[in-house]
């Protein structure tokens, strides 16, 4: 029973999605549209699952003082800092910040202390007392400072300049620099792997060189337009053919797997390998 119901569900929803494609009637469209909405909404709950796992892994490291556990505090700071920014808003015109940043600091420390109270084995009372102090401080600030406010009631938190600042000055630099590392790695991979060991490797190497040539101004001087034309031809003709062959293959593979899933032939994804 426990095992069968999910496969029945898979069949029902899968078969519906196949049939609705052929049914233009609005009742079919209606169901189709809200099913898609459902999936988007369920996805958000999965995100909560992810955050929970992240927290659990970090707390586990801190609790057991595993290697590099000190860095797990950074995860906690980043996580809760950004959440606080995302749910509070700044009322002022950007001139006066009041005690907003001290509040954030107190709230963050309070959260960390609460977590410590929960996970620590000894010194529970010390952590609890510290947590109390920081909670009190942040409550006091939130009562007496009018330059900012909680915005549990509207999406203004996302417009909070600090929320955006964290995005602009922490997320973006790390993300785009990680990505930029690829410029270095692509060079070292080319150096290491592009060696004419056999026919296939040579084909790979020559094609790569031809395409990269179009950036070489001296090649353009010697061969005129033909270098660039050859590289475009490579990208447009053999590339198109190979892409199409792969796309058709992958398409068929996906279609076959989808069919197997709908019919309950493929069951590996439910955890029985």
């Amino acid at each position: 029973m426990k095992r069968q119901i999910p496969f029945v569900l898979v069949f029902i929803f899968g078969a519906f999605m196949v049939f609705q494609y052929f049914i233009p009637h609005e009742s079919s469209e209606w169901v189709y549209e809200f099913l898609l909405d459902w999936i988007i909404i369920i996805g958000i709950f999965a995100l909560a699952l992810g955050i929970w796992s992240l927290l659990r892994v970090s707390l586990d490291k801190i609790k057991n003082k595993k290697e590099n556990y000190i860095y797990s505090y950074l995860i906690l700071f980043g996580l809760f800092g950004e959440i606080i920014f995302g749910f509070t808003a700044f009322n002022g015109n950007g001139e006066s910040w009041g005690f907003y940043l001290p509040f954030v600091a107190c709230a963050l420390l309070a959260i960390i202390m609460i977590i410590h109270t929960i996970i620590s084995t000894g010194k529970k009372t010390t952590f609890a007392a510290l947590a109390g102090v920081f909670i009190l401080l942040s409550v006091l600030i939130s009562i007496f400072d009018n330059s900012w406010s909680f915005h549990f009631s509207s999406a203004e938190g996302v417009q909070n300049p600090m929320f955006r600042s964290f995005f602009d000055h922490i997320l973006i630099p790390v993300l785009s620099t990680m990505f930029a590392l690829l410029a270095f790695f692509i060079a070292s991979a080319a150096y290491r792997a592009f060696r004419a060991r056999n026919l296939l490797a040579t084909l790979l190497l020559v094609a790569a060189l031809i395409v990269m040539m179009r950036f070489n101004p001296w090649v353009a001087v010697i061969y005129g337009d033909y270098g660039a034309k050859l590289s475009n031809w490579l990208m447009n003709v053999p590339n198109l053919a190979a892409q199409r062959a792969i796309v058709i293959g992958i398409g068929l593979g996906i279609v076959a797997t989808a069919l197997k899933i709908i019919l309950g032939i493929e069951r590996g994804y439910m955890g029985k390998g």
Binding site: F45, A46, I170, L181, A183, A207, A242, R244
Partner: protein, 281 residues
């Protein structure tokens, strides 16, 4: 060993503070408010950029610092956006009038009428919440199995969508695109063909060649992907041609990609030079 680490950390901290002060000073000159904060933010962005770049040398504490901070902030960022845009923006207006008022979003439930005193839209959109909660039940060891239901919903729906969609886009469409005239699009006879022979990209010969290469490439490529037949004889030869064409393509795409990766590095270095050091305009 320990001593060097302390010295390096101290130097980096010193540089960080120096950059912060100088940057704040530079910002304050442009009469922007909160210059201390702005100076800090630009400095931390530069610091994180350099920290990640230091990974090229080897794994080190600065890299770990950037990485862990990044993990925390990104998780929270996605969560906040998902909450405001999907839960508040899409779900709440459809299920609860009270919550809609609290979150100041227009309540759109009730548009589909009532059945047995229940609002249809409310009922329909309560299901994803139930499924979402079932998904979270995964955390429970006793009721974890129930999380398979929403998984079944997601997998089943996507499978159904994929089934017809890929059949159309990647199969029927791609096949019909392969129906190309092998003699080129405006064939005017052999006499004309040989008298106007040129290597020009829009010339008849090149167009014809392109169509032939596409035709042979697609079919040899497909033959390479035959799994249930031994690749011997003519079949094996065709499959060889197939893998050659695949390799040429992979080499070409690799070479093509270099450009994009360099651009990303340009972006980062420009940031360092322009926004942080201000040595270029």
């Amino acid at each position: 060993m320990k001593k060097t680490a302390i010295i390096v950390t101290a130097v980096v901290m010193g540089l960080f503070i120096l950059s912060w002060v100088l940057k704040a000073n530079a910002v304050s000159a442009t009469a922007e408010s909160n210059y201390i904060l702005r100076g800090f933010l630009v400095t931390i962005a530069a610091f994180l950029t350099l920290s990640v770049l230091s990974f090229l040398y080897k794994d080190n504490p600065f890299y770990k610092f950037a990485e862990h901070l990044f993990v925390g902030v990104s998780a929270a960022f996605w969560m906040c956006l998902g909450f405001w845009s999907t839960i508040v923006g899409n779900l709440i207006p459809r299920v609860s009038e009270g919550l809609s008022n609290t979150f100041k979003v227009p309540y759109i439930g009730g548009d589909w009428g009532n059945v047995l005193g229940l609002d249809i839209m409310n009922v329909v959109f309560v299901f994803p919440i139930i499924f979402g909660i079932m998904l979270i039940m995964r955390l429970s060891s006793n009721y974890g199995w129930i999380s398979r239901w929403p998984l079944a919903l997601i997998v089943g729906t996507t499978a159904g969508l994929n089934f017809v969609r890929y059949l159309q886009s990647d199969f029927i469409q791609q096949v019909s695109s392969t129906f190309v005239p092998l003699l080129g699009n405006n064939w005017t006879g052999f006499g004309d063909f040989f008298s106007n022979l040129s290597l020009d990209a829009s010339g008849q010969l090149v167009l014809m060649l392109a169509n032939w290469v596409i035709f042979i490439g697609v079919f040899c490529g497909l033959i390479y992907f035959f799994f249930s037949k031994e690749h011997t004889g003519a079949f094996g030869k065709a499959s060889r041609v197939g893998i050659w064409i695949l390799m040429i393509t992979f080499g070409a795409s690799f070479g093509y990609t270099v450009m994009g990766r360099i651009s990303l590095l340009v972006g980062r270095i420009t940031f360092l030079f322009k926004d942080w050091l201000e040595i270029i305009s």
